[in-house]
């Protein structure tokens, strides 16, 4: 039974992905799409790529799903120990460096790109990009994943220093939806997480409510219509 590689459901689970992290005046916003693929099959069309490490630090995961989940589990565990030993919430810099140490020292075996974002009382909102080899780069905004290739030019033009929360959120949603439009490995819904001194807010933008781009057609008879039939909350975890 020769099976096509397209339907090989035992292929390693990878997240095609578009992930974004931007800072604004007051905090950070992390955004991601929701598609996880094995070969050419979408294994999970509503995955959550923005994972919590502590109350004030979240990460966006891309690359191999297994590797990024394991790294985030280990870093959450180390950060928890660190918080107990330190006696106060961990800083974003520490979280990012823990991710970097794991990524760099195991670079031969891991295949994962991570964006760490959070807010602490010393530095405020910070974004750290940790791509494949284990480099750590503190940036005002970071993009990652296969869909990010289509966003470099967009951010060069659209990024501004000192945006408000709503401007930054709109920028993130627009960017992810642009990447979804052009990248086959990104899709589904757009999830955003806003972190500032007040706390953390999660937002969800279903696929049929995103702005339409060049040659895109409006969605009708969307599967998301069936959700309204039973309950307003799309997916309760």
């Amino acid at each position: 039974m020769d099976r096509d590689a397209t339907a090989d459901v035992n292929a390693p689970h990878s997240m095609g992905t578009t992930i974004i992290g931007v800072t604004y005046n007051g905090g950070v916003i992390l955004g991601a799409d929701s598609r996880t693929s094995t070969g050419l099959y979408v294994a999970n069309r509503a995955s959550d790529k923005i994972t919590q490490l502590t109350d004030n630090v979240y990460i966006c995961r891309s690359g191999s799903a297994a590797d990024s989940q394991i790294v985030s589990d280990y870093v959450r565990y180390f950060l928890h120990q660190h918080t107990i030993q330190l006696g106060q919430p961990a800083t974003v810099k520490v979280a990012a460096n823990l991710v970097r140490l794991l990524s760099y020292n195991n670079k031969n075996m891991l295949q994962t790109g991570i964006i760490v974002g959070g807010w602490d009382k010393y530095e405020g909102g910070k974004i750290y990009g940790i791509p494949l080899g284990g480099t750590i780069l503190e940036q005002p905004f970071a993009i990652g994943g296969s869909g990010s290739s289509y966003l470099y030019g967009f951010f060069d033009q659209a990024w501004k220093e000192g945006m408000t929360k709503d401007e930054a959120e709109q920028l993130v949603v627009k960017a992810v939806s642009l990447a979804i439009a052009r990248d086959g490995a990104s899709g589904g819904v757009v999830r955003t997480v806003t972190i500032n001194n007040e706390g953390v807010t999660r937002n969800f933008y279903p696929g049929d409510q995103l702005p339409l781009w060049h040659e895109e057609v409006e969605a009708h008879n969307s599967l998301l219509d069936i959700l309204n039939a039973s309950s307003p909350e799309p997916m309760s975890t």
């Binding site: 039974m1 099976r3 339907a7 459901v9 035992n10 390693p12 689970h13 996880t36 094995t38 099959y41 294994a43 999970n44 509503a46 995955s47 191999s64 799903a65 297994a66 989940q69 394991i70 280990y74 140490l101 794991l102 020292n105 195991n106 075996m109 891991l110 599967l223 069936i226 959700l227 039939a229 039973s230 309950s231 997916m235 975890t237």
Partner: protein
């Protein structure tokens, strides 16, 4: 001479691979190539190789090596490249599904186990017991799914004794994903884990490399696309038990009839708070239809030409000696 060469080669391969990295947390440790020397114990004691075997065994026995030894994987790859046909293994072609309904979780599976193009088992059980409130469907290599679910089921039982509480689905999930990640995808088990615990109903999928997803409905295996098509068109939140069982049966049937790797019957398992129902062979849409009720008649039997009985020769005479009777 040949033996000596083998030892030297093995020693070389151990030394050239960079293993020790004090900073790394995730690196698996690699054990010595100890198994090559198991033949040497049959050599006469005079042989110098025997001394070497003893020396190596003393060193190796002191510190038990942890972690999976990947060295045979390299050798196997090399052999297959040279043209050796590796033995086939029993796969469960499979359609496995799970969904969350209003009161809990329903798991479903087909019952065909394949070995290449042959159906090895027409009615195997793919829904494995993990805990009284947690069940796990397994797709992939049958031995791997069986072994990994049995292993984690035992660990969960020990954990229950240790904590005095009902097992949670996330515990099973973490144990399974850590195990599968440690083996880097070589344990070919794709699982759908479902159960109800104090925190509510949960459904997860676990992939051979160790990644997990949490979903309201999930399908895995070669028939997953066929079953997912059914779920995507008809799943909604708040299904009743009967609707859920019907939907699961429909999805498995879709896999059975449209996927070559899945077939035979439908198994269903319904888990609710405090109770579970394992519906083995809930639906049997593929009965054997060609058995004649009268039985087969063969017109001509094999002819008997000669009947001769030759008793076996006795080599030993048993002489009862007066002594103590055997005591228990």
């Amino acid at each position: 001479m040949q033996m000596t060469t083998i030892i030297q080669m093995s020693k070389q391969t151990v030394n050239t691979s960079k293993l020790e990295n004090p900073h790394s947390v995730l690196q698996p440790k690699i054990s010595l190539l100890f198994y090559h020397f198991s033949d040497l114990k049959f050599l006469p004691i005079v042989s110098p190789l025997h001394k070497l075997y003893l020396k190596m065994s003393n060193e190796a026995m002191d510190v038990p090596k942890t972690g999976f030894s990947f060295d045979l994987c390299r050798r196997n790859e090399m052999l297959t490249k040279k043209g050796l046909k590796s033995p086939g293994y029993l796969k469960t072609g499979t359609t496995i599904v799970g969904l969350i309904f209003e009161n809990g979780v329903i798991l479903g599976a087909d019952t065909r186990a394949t070995e290449g193009p042959i159906v090895a088992d027409k009615n195997c059980e793919k829904i494995h017991y993990m805990a009284p409130n947690i069940y796990c469907c397994g797709a992939g290599t049958a031995a791997d799914t069986e072994a990994v679910t049995d292993n984690i089921s035992s660990q969960l039982k020990l954990h229950r004794y240790h904590t005095g509480r009902e097992s949670r689905v996330v515990t099973a999930l973490t144990l399974l994903k850590s195990h599968l990640f440690r083996y880097q995808g070589h344990v070919s088990a794709a699982l759908v884990l479902g159960g109800v615990d104090v925190t509510g109903p949960h459904l997860h999928t676990i992939y051979p490399h160790g990644s997990t997803d949490t979903l309201p409905f999930a399908t895995m295996g070669s028939g997953s696309l066929a079953a997912m098509a059914i779920f995507e068109s008809e799943y909604r939140e708040g299904l009743t038990r009967d609707e859920g069982v019907n939907l699961v049966t429909k999805a498995i049937c879709s896999g059975i009839f449209n996927d070559l790797g899945s077939g035979s019957n439908v198994d269903v398992c319904v888990i609710e708070k405090g109770k579970k129902e394992y519906l083995r062979n809930h639906l049997t849409p593929n009965p054997r239809t060609y058995i004649s009720s009268k039985g087969y008649t063969f017109s001509k039997k094999t002819e008997v030409l000669l009947t001769k009985i030759t008793p076996l020769k006795e080599l030993v005479d048993v002489v009862p000696v007066g002594g103590d009777a055997m005591e228990e």
